[in-house]
Symmetry: C2
Subunit: 403 residues, 2 copies
């Protein structure tokens, strides 16, 4: 084992509890979050870094809380020795009453530390201004960091993590309403606290959970706004997996957008392969290795235009249109089946998500998606909403949904 | 230290989270629950036994959950060695995924075990049929037992606890709707599982959370219905503290009703001193020592009849009636102050609960209790509902509230 190499399993937007009561998809978010934690354990990484939206609901159901606690309990405890050290002020870094990183509490045998910032889905709220993540921190299951104390002036104090001579300054910022954070950045009220000594020796990571791209420039944090001394930025919140880091035009740092680990919207960005990743740091060098997630439900999305069908369709012949669309869905199911054979560990996971966007301009009528879906109930995971009728294909482009 | 003596701190109906948003009383339930856990630690008891209604709300607020977790985390962990052994099938006894009593999980340094049954306030519900207590069990903060698997036939399998030659068979039954449980008992579908060997050597404790007394015999579990081989019955749910055990007329066992640790109704039964207790068991001998709780807010309740006031009051002179009642409240505040001097550890705990039941028969009118209370805002904890107007004093007698 390389005593200088810090190995980090990175994932974001796990949205556990998403559609938890759905008869087919109910376990999807849990299966994948468990895959992540199991992988982290198998790879014996130094720690797991989560980029927010661990929970889908601000108030997760009791069952979701319970299942999530059981996953952490199953994978974070054991007799390995943790190789990294947190050398910054732990009381300042973490939200919990013990005042230390979870694996240093002598009453808990934690051997896989998890560090997490909150997202907009699991942000602090209500009496006590607590996040659901605070319940996991209170029970010492993880380390919750990156929570701004004062929105007038945000002090980004890093968690300083060392292993041998490798040193990571881990900056994090839990989600803040985009317009507000934009203003705080613009007014230069984000203060980056840097290590007192040998600032240039640290590998500086930043975890952020905000809009990265958007129409409205006043609600989008850009790479240009970030500190130029950063080395690597992990961008949560955006669900499309852009898993190959790019060098920012703004400075000398790399940016990656791991994307969500479960599709919460049946849109193009979520139909692409989903990932976690291994980030390895040695000195100022790093390597980033995408890991495709195996427990992601197949999702096939296509567009079809009724007016150009061959042979041509009669707009008044609803039965013919229905059969035409059903045939198309059959083809999509076949594509999904070729790519994702059944897995005995996940009995229903091969049932695909199918989204067929139907351009019905040219005098065609819509047909009832629920009724259409009935024939696919046992074969498509989202039989209730396979079809989406649009007038012109472009309407849907660039539509943004809450991530 | 006596190696045969099993020492148990007993409490019930802690109702944490009760009135948590009340400006004066919000911390009361937490203060007292923390007093119990602190006392258990200071006394170095072998374990804590809780009789249900740990939480006041079936869905405790995030803040209440968080505060409760922090209390368990503060008092249940450490380096003492636990002297008792659980020799029954732990997987059968407890609701958790680890399948063992919490202090035997090698990943947790528990040194003060807590055993608990659920009450009607924190009973299992919703998707997954989980109790809020399950969240504490999943995070290994306590041991949740006594949950009936099958209501057609309830198998009461005890937690068998030994220390040297002393042996406790701890039976528990989380709350079941009274009418239903009555029927199950009547139809002889409660099966008491007894230790395979030397049945007569065990000290048999039963923790139950049901109505003990009530008008309707079909919704009241009586001592006669319980197994005659029991030695000691701890009766939760009833909030009046009847802290001196009585020998049951039904069999050879003792019964105690510790009562709630916070007043959730301003009725006579809750105005009495509140208690936890130390139950000590050595062989088949036991000793039960009440411990008066110190953090309970003073509660003075009195009755007054306007028509017999001296000098007589004019029913039409509302101002005079108001002043008469205010004077009475002043006297009650003085009584409370004499008995409960301010405690610097609990800055507002000396503010008393005051309940004055006013018999206004004889042509008197009621006066607005909110307006009346305004003059006592800084001096009475429940200034908003000091006065209760009744027509004849007997109306209130025997009134039952959900416990
Ligand atoms: Mn988000
Ligand atoms: Mn998200
Ligand atoms: Mn009760
Ligand atoms: Mn109660």
């Amino acid at each position: 084992m390389n005593e200088e190499l810090i190995r980090i399993l990175v994932a974001t937007d796990n949205h556990v509890g998403f559609l938890e009561r759905h008869p087919v998809r109910g376990d999807d978010s849990f299966n994948t979050f468990e895959e992540i934690m199991r992988t982290a354990r198998e790879m014996e990484v130094d720690f797991v870094l989560l980029g927010g939206d661990l929970f889908h609901d601000n108030k997760p159901s009791r069952k979701t809380l319970h299942r999530t606690m059981e996953i952490f309990r199953k994978y974070c405890f054991g007799d390995r020795s943790v190789q990294v050290q947190v050398v910054s002020d732990q009381k300042m870094n973490f939200r919990n009453s013990s005042g230390c990183v979870n694996y240093e509490d002598p009453n808990f045998n934690i051997d896989l530390p998890v560090f997490i910032v909150h997202g907009n889905h699991d942000d602090p709220s209500g009496d006590g201004d607590l996040s659901a993540i605070d319940l996991l921190a209170a029970t010492n299951l993880l380390n919750y960091f990156g929570r701004a104390q004062d929105l007038k002036e945000i002090h980004l104090a890093p968690v300083l993590i060392t292993k041998g001579s490798s040193k990571i300054a881990l900056y994090g910022l839990g989600n803040i309403r985009d317009e507000r954070l934009y203003r705080i950045f613009r007014e230069k009220n984000v203060k980056w606290v840097t290590p007192a000594e040998n600032r240039q020796d640290w590998f500086n990571i930043f975890v952020i959970h905000q809009n990265r791209e958007g129409r409205n420039s006043k609600s989008t944090i850009t790479e240009q706004m970030l500190a130029p001394f950063l080395d690597f930025v992990i961008w949560g919140h955006e669900h499309e997996s852009l898993i190959n880091p790019w060098e920012s035009s703004a400075g000398g740092f790399f940016v990656v957008q791991p994307g969500s680990t479960v599709a919460t919207s049946l849109i193009e960005g979520e139909a692409k392969p989903k990932h976690m990743a291994l980030l390895e740091v040695s000195g100022k060098e790093h390597r980033f290795t995408p890991i495709r997630l195996k427990t992601v439900r197949p999702f096939i999305m296509e567009d079809i235009t009724l007016s150009v069908a061959q042979p041509p369709l009669d707009p008044k012949d609803t039965d013919a249109v229905t059969e035409y669309l059903a045939e198309k869905v059959e083809e999509m199911i076949e594509v999904a089946a070729r790519e994702h054979p059944p897995d005995p560990d996940y009995p229903n996971l091969h049932l695909p998500l199918i989204k067929l966007r139907v351009d019905y301009s040219g005098g065609f009528s819509t047909i009832n998606p629920q009724r259409f879906g009935q024939r696919f109930v046992q074969r498509v995971a989202n039989s209730e909403d396979i079809l989406l009728f649009v007038k012109r294909r472009t309407q849907e482009k660039g539509k943004k949904t809450a991530a």
